[in-house]
Structures are given as structure tokens and as C-alpha cells.
Symmetry: C2
């Protein structure tokens, strides 16, 4: 295979793919209660004011503010208590000047009142009289109509990923159903003559296929649906057949290739045979992940990932996870938890290459330390021992012990 | 109600509860493939070596290292290629001195070889001869038996929450089932005479119950199972009955009380009537969340949370989320994504109180800025507008515009 593309930075590679990515456009209605982490496919405008009536923001007495003007400890304003507004009921009474009604936090305000005096700022004089010892201004301690959420505004835009509080706000307005993007389907193909299923006992020379499952779980974490298309031998026809199945059934196709150079080339041939434009980046200034392939065929993104377990996960996280969010229409994907720590030892790298090194994070003397976990061939054990992945930026020739490094919890 | 407890810091309050928290102890077997985010209830020791045979870590030639000693561009070591080890198959040949076999990354090493020469460091001389131009040491470019994961070690301890890579490691070893903690059941009770279901149209004075759903989703996020026990009116008998049902059906009971002072007291009475030791903290130096109750009855934690939507969510996150992890036996709960940003305006607070203020996070001139969202009564809209929650530490009398603040993405 001739080298068709020069080596790109991870960012350049993703930028080549980005123009070909667009939301899948398939939508569905779901009940709001079960819409956590789903991506809105509609703009949500508020149908009503919240609250729809003026509510007390305190336990106290609803009053006419003007009746309390000038009130003080030495000269209280005496008001007649004409009743109580119990929670959840209509305020039956209307207040005349010089009158007050007992209210609770959340009570509707009775007609004729415009403020609430806090309980602490009143004295009980007799069974139906209070003395107010601090004046209130009109509107004080009152939640006005629409003060929480006004009617007719854009509450949540299309593309917003719903959090617990968003579900609360929707339900508060009686919006019990929302239109969201369907989940993005990700076809996962594992190639390799040496692979057997995890249930099988490998014969000498064979290994269990684990990339399908690590990548399936990363797909779930990103809100996608994994479609496991099984193990495919290292030959052109078999790989092409599996890739075509992925093209017809899924929105994204991920091929975790065998780890040798020849299977990476085979993956590239298969992808280019599927249609246009084909491969957009092959060879990325990235460790692990140099042989990663980013492609698009007939509007569907296709990825060729390295076969080493840690390399496959790290490159999936870098390229496929943002693609899943993009295809779901998500405008602001959630970020991994990140932290800064000081390196316990040097990390060698080369300038012009982005390195991702699994690290163990430990606290010592109130400071966070990152201990690099080196290992041959990006073994799965390196990621099991790790708390996160440290990034060596493109422009650095490695990082020295004692330097601060940014770590994504993985 | 007399004030039984002095106001505690959030940390002190949780420390009072902690001695009463222990894992629920109910376990179940699940398939490893579907065990993402589950908490191990067993120590996992490795049954086998991974890899179980020496594998090539490169594309190249398996050789006897001693045959390459002194090899260089000007004086190559000539070796006879006696065959190829294809992926997934046994190496049929055994090598004699002066011989080499073509191998791929992941191939089993043939008998008699102890190193691999990278393809790049060889020249093809004729159809069955190569010239090696760089020497290799014994073991070079070879993954030894057990080098990824050795047999008989503790791979993952009880209490570990399974990540994608852990599932990969388990499956690589053929461990297709694991014993995990059952999910922790969290009873959610909403009290308030003013509450109606989100499906219902509130009459004047009524509001829709949303805390049940915001807290249900926070429960799911923490790996628990929410049990919605419905809306309960503000009276002792009804609340007690619901709390007793929670005690018999769930592991944790959460009562989001009405927002007035009297219903907080009612919640306290009900909790203390259920059994010993009862309330451990009532009144916390926290805003929002001062009236929060932490209790334990017959080994089950009970929480009384404020009724305001934002207060209920923030106090749940502070106290109930860590309790769910603790009861599931999780030794290292995942952390929220946190970041540091500069405040756009002052946040007033009082020393001796921890304040949590919803903020919008924006990037400006390459720096992150946090804009506080103030709002009466901790309305749900404050959390909908927010990207996260800024924390004003206990010992600070507020934070000034321009100061750096720690924000939890919420």
C-alpha cells in the first residue's frame, strides 16, 4: 500500500472528519422522567409561568407593604390576623388595610397583599393581632408569577443533553414527554485470525476478543448503542462483508484491526472499497494510535483502530466518543473528570507527537502525584492499573519528573 | 420542638452518620459483559497467565538472539527463513541455530527462539534468506508468559467499581461472570399538601412534585435504584406510614420535606419515632440546606432534605450520593468533573458556613469564568441555567469577583 497521507496531528485528523459528521436526524418521543442523558431534538419553550401565582418565599405573614412602613421594635405596626393560608389551598380571604394572613413558604399570596413579613420580625400580641417590628418593601419575600420560569421563553435548546435538574424543570411545567435524538448505533467489528470469544478457551496462539466489549462499554458511556458484529478473520472478503453489514445497520462503523501492519493496511483497503470519500486520515502523530484510520463513506464515519486493547480504548475515546455525541446532535458533550498532578518520573516522547500514558494517581503530603505505568504493546493491564491517562502535548519532547501534567480519569 | 443539636459543618454531620453506614451485603452474579459500573463483592484472582504463551510484540522475524550478535548494516547476520507463524495458529516449526521464522504482532513464538527482529531491521536477500542489520537481546520484542497479567495475583479487589478496561481484563482471562453488590434501593418520599403529580394540572396554590424525579435521577447516576413512594400530605400519621414502608422496602430513606419550618420539624418527629439512634444531625452550616436532617434507624440511613428543588438536589449530592456508594461497598466512588474558574462577581457568605452557588461557566480570552446565578428560594431554574456549583469554603466570608473558585459540574 502506498502511503497516501502524511501523518496528521490528532486534531488535524479529527478536523478532516468533522465536515462529514452530521446528526443522524432520527428522533423519538420519550417520557421526560426517563430522559436522563438524552439529547433534545426540539427546542423547549415554556407553556406557562412558574409559579403561576405569587407565592410566599418565607414562613410569616402576608401583608400590604405600606401597612409596615416605619415599623420598628420601639414602634411596631399592629395588624389584625384574619386567617391562615394552608399549603396547597386557595387563599379564600382578601385583605383590607391593616390586616395580615399567616402564610407558609410556598403558600399562595392572598388578594390585597404584596409582601411577606418573616415570622422572626413579628410579635404575637393576642390571638388575632401581631406587631410587625421591621418594615417590608412591596414584593419582599414574595416569589412573583413567572419569577422561577417565565412563560414563552426558550427553556432548553435542541441539542441539550438532559440532566436531572432539566428533567425537574420540564416536569414542573407539566412537560411529561420530550422529543429526543434516537441513540446512535455503533457497529463494532473485531478482526483477527487469532481471536476467540471470551467464553472459549483459547488454543495455543489464540487470544480472547476483548476489544468488542471494552468498546461496547465506552459506546454505552457516550450514550450510543453498540452492535457487536463479531469476530472476522483477517481477509479482505470477510472484512468487507462485515463492514457492509455495519454500513447498512449502524450509524458509525468501528473496526478494531489486528495489531500487525498488514491488517491495518487490509482495513484501509476494505474501507476505501466501500465508497466515497473513503479514508480521510491514516497515520496520526499519536502514541498509542499511530495506525488509526478516520474515514467517511456515504455520510457514515468509519474508524480503523489499533488492535492492542489499550490503544483501541484510547483512540476510541479520542475520536469515536466525540463522533457519537456529534451524531446524536449533542451541542455540549460532557467532559471526563480531569485533574492536575505532578509526575513521579519522566515520560519520554517526541515533539510533534501527542502521547497518552496511563498513570496511577496518588495523594502524598496533600499533593496529587501521577505515576506513569509503562508497558509493552499497550496491554490491557496498563489501563486496569491506571486511574487515568496523562497527556504529553504535541509540542513537548516528553515531560520531566516533577512537572505538572493533565490527567483524564479513565 | 426544642433545638436538640447545635449546627454542624457538613463534614461533621456526615462524620456523625458514617459509623452507622455499612454495605448492604446482598450480592448477585452478573455476566461480566454487563457489569459496567457495578461494585465487585469478591476479590478477583487471576486464574491464568496472560498471555499464556510468549508472543511477538512486533511484525518481524523470530530468532535466537545469539545469532544476531554483532550484526550491523556493513556486516549483517544472515539467517535462513524456515516458515511463517500465521496469526492464531500454533508454531509448528522448531528453530535450529541460524534459522528465523516470519512472525506478526501477537504471533506465538516458535520453539527455539527467544527474540524478535523488527521487519525494519532486516533485508530480504533471497526467497529464504534475510540479513539482520541490528542485533537483538534475548527477550527483545517478545511479550513473555504472564507479562500482561500473571497467574495468581489479585487483579481487582472487592469494592472496586468496574470500568470498561476492567471488563476487558476479566474477559481476557475468561472470567465471564462476577459477583457484585446488589444495587442499593433508595426510597423517595415527597411531603407537602401543595404537591400534585407532574401529569396533573395544579389548581391555584398547588405545585407539581418534581423532587421525586430529580432525586430519582441522581440515585440512578450513583448506581442506586429509586423507589418512588409518592406524595404524602403534611401530617404525622401519613408521613410515618410512608417512612415505615421505606424502612421495610429500601436501604436508604429520603424525605424531601415541605419547605416550611414546621414540616421540617414534623419530619424530625417522624424519624425519631421510627427507632434508635434516630436523628444524628439536624441543622447544618450549609446554604442551601440548613434544615437538612441526617439520621439512622436500625442500621438504615434516613435523610430529611429541604423541599426547595435546588436545595434538595444539592444536599442529596452532598450526603445521599456518598451514602449510596458506601452501602454498595464501593471503595472509591467516582468524582464529579471539577474545574477552577474566576468569579465574575462577588458571592456573599458567612464564615463558618459552606455555601453552594450555581454558576454558569464561560470561556473568555482563554480563561474560564464563573458567573453566579442568584435566585430566591433555590428555584429549579437556577440549576437549569447553571453548568455547575461553586463552593464557598467554610472559613471564608464570601468570595470576591476575580477570585478563583472550585466548581463541580452538576
Amino acid at each position: 500500500m502506498p502511503e497516501l497521507f502524511t501523518v496528521l496531528t490528532p486534531e488535524e485528523a479529527y478536523h478532516r472528519l468533522e465536515p462529514y459528521l452530521s446528526p443522524i436526524g432520527r428522533i423519538e418521543k420519550v417520557t421526560t422522567k426517563e430522559a436522563l442523558d438524552r439529547v433534545l431534538a426540539e427546542n423547549i419553550f415554556t407553556p406557562d409561568d412558574l409559579p403561576p401565582f405569587p407565592r410566599s418565599a418565607m414562613d410569616g405573614y402576608a401583608v400590604r407593604a405600606e401597612d409596615t412602613h416605619g415599623a420598628s421594635e420601639s414602634l411596631p405596626a399592629y395588624l389584625k390576623v384574619i386567617g391562615e393560608v394552608t399549603m396547597g389551598s386557595i387563599a379564600e380571604m382578601a385583605l383590607s388595610p391593616g390586616e395580615a394572613a399567616l402564610v407558609h413558604t410556598g403558600s399562595i399570596l392572598p388578594t390585597g397583599t404584596n409582601a411577606v413579613v418573616m415570622l422572626e420580625n413579628t410579635h404575637k400580641i393576642d390571638v388575632s393581632t401581631i406587631g410587625v417590628v421591621r418594615p417590608v418593601a412591596a414584593g419582599e419575600n414574595v416569589l412573583q408569577i413567572g419569577e422561577d420560569i417565565p412563560q414563552g421563553i426558550l427553556l432548553l435548546p435542541r441539542g441539550h443533553r438532559l440532566r436531572s435538574q432539566d428533567i425537574g424543570g420540564l416536569l414542573a411545567l407539566g412537560i411529561t414527554e420530550v422529543t429526543v435524538s434516537q441513540k446512535v448505533q455503533v457497529a463494532l467489528i473485531s478482526t483477527g485470525d487469532e481471536l476467540v470469544s471470551p467464553e472459549d478457551k483459547p488454543k495455543p496462539g489464540q487470544v480472547r476478543n476483548i476489544n468488542a466489549y471494552t468498546l461496547a462499554n465506552l459506546t454505552l458511556k457516550a450514550g450510543g448503542i453498540p452492535l457487536l458484529l463479531g469476530i472476522v478473520p483477517d481477509n479482505y472478503q470477510a472484512m468487507k462483508k462485515a463492514a457492509e453489514r455495519g454500513m447498512s445497520e449502524a450509524d458509525i462503523i468501528v473496526i478494531s484491526a489486528g495489531s500487525s501492519v498488514s491488517t491495518s493496511d487490509l482495513t484501509a483497503q476494505v474501507i476505501n472499497s466501500l465508497g466515497k470519500p473513503g479514508i480521510l486520515a491514516h497515520g496520526i502523530a499519536l502514541k498509542p494510535g499511530k495506525p488509526t484510520i478516520l474515514a467517511s463513506v456515504n455520510g457514515k464515519p468509519i474508524f480503523g483502530l489499533p488492535g492492542n486493547p489499550a490503544s483501541a480504548m484510547i483512540t476510541f475515546d479520542l475520536f469515536v466518543t466525540p463522533t457519537i455525541y456529534k451524531l446524536s446532535g449533542c451541542s455540549k458533550p460532557p467532559q471526563r473528570h480531569r485533574l492536575k498532578a505532578r509526575l513521579t518520573s519522566n515520560i519520554p516522547s517526541a515533539p510533534g507527537r501527542e502521547d497518552y500514558v496511563p498513570v496511577r494517581v496518588k495523594e502524598k503530603d496533600g499533593e496529587l502525584w501521577a505515576e506513569p505505568i509503562f508497558g509493552k504493546s499497550n496491554l490491557i493491564s496498563t489501563l486496569i492499573k491506571a486511574d487515568g491517562i496523562a497527556q504529553v502535548p504535541l509540542d513537548k519532547a516528553g515531560l520531566a519528573a516533577g512537572e505538572m501534567v493533565m490527567i483524564s480519569i479513565f
